[in-house]
Symmetry: C2
DNA sequence: TTATTATAGTATCGAGTCGATACTATAATG
DNA sequence: CATTATAGTATCGACTCGATACTATAATAA
């Protein structure tokens, strides 16, 4: 019935959620971008917990990403440490305080309430279509997918509960296999 | 397959499109928000072409909306005029230059290319689910829907090609009935 | 009528985003 | 060992955006 185009719809939805995220974060002195960055590191695996990866994920320059991180660090929501092997890289962890805040703020109340209004089936349909849309966009944009490790082209099952990354050849824990990875690639033929 | 949650998906999609919109507008000295505002006025009907309506649409304060408009006016993309009946209100029109720019920039190339990759049926499925999601969000948020006039609860067909708004009692042209309206309300039982 | 209150919009300020540029430090490559 | 690439930071300027205060006009109440 509605004659709105897809792009307008996405814009509308984005505006509503952004306004909500702004309000949610404002109470704790956080901008929407900062909240997104915090959420990213809470779900990033060991190949993806760096400022450079955040910049790619958010689609901003590394300078901007660096600034965002400085704010989060000053607030005690994340901590940094130097990588042992490559002393150029900095690794970022979410602190207990950061995790606590995330649990409280994300997803925002509007989203939670909206989800409650939907049947499980309806929510699943929406999610399925969103996944399709995202994949096409990423494919066209040739951007990294930042998918979950165990859905990756490089993910190997070595029998039982043993997993390995085919790209780095390193073994992976179950927990690790559920985090998002910068090197994630869509399985061919999916 | 994917274990990402709906909210993360929306965030990802939003980031990709926002980065694209930023790039598109940057070449013409426009910020993403300014482009959105311009697009809004290009599709706003006569009840909705004011700074206050823009503020509601974008979810920002009227001060912010006013500033955004000042930029667009300085660039010659919109023009303002006083309302005849209520001298407090300002009406905003997109200039020829503004329309020209919009045609060039929106929807952004990424979206156009992605659409080209999808079958008509797949695109329709995505759009349908986006509409559902948006409606639930608006319902929960109790925000205005900003829908197209002829999908409104107040829209009246008076036989043939004659239409009328049941809220203001004014007659509507066919063209007008295709624009978005600040007073739009979802039909009950849809 | 006249006071009060509500609404539309602008002006101004400060905190923050974000891109651009330049820079340092380390690693990889020739 | 020189060159080049990469990770990250520092700094600056243009801009967003909320908060607050303000003006002008309209609607409402006394």
């Amino acid at each position: 019935m509605s004659r709105q185009h897809g792009y307008d719809l996405i814009e509308r939805i984005g505006n509503l959620l952004r306004a909500e995220a702004r309000q949610a974060g404002a109470g704790h002195g956080l901008q929407p971008v900062q909240l997104q960055a915090l959420a990213y590191f809470a779900r990033a695996n060991r190949y993806s917990d760096t400022p450079a990866a955040l910049a790619e994920y958010l689609g901003v320059t590394k300078g901007t990403a660096s600034q965002t991180l400085m704010v989060l660090e000053a607030l005690g929501l994340v901590s940094k440490r130097e990588d042992k092997d490559d002393r150029r890289v900095t690794r970022v962890q979410v602190t207990a305080k950061g995790h606590q805040l995330l649990d409280k703020l994300l997803p925002p109340a509007l989203w939670r309430n909206a989800s409650a209004e939907l049947s499980a089936a309806a929510a699943q349909r929406i999610e399925d279509e969103l996944v399709r849309l995202l994949r096409v966009l990423q494919q066209v944009n040739q951007s990294r997918t930042f998918g979950v490790c165990n859905t990756c082209e490089h993910f190997l099952r070595e029998g039982g509960r043993k997993f390995r990354c085919g790209l780095t050849a390193e073994p992976l824990s179950i927990e690790e296999s559920r985090l998002i990875c910068r090197e994630h690639e869509l399985k061919t033929g999916t």
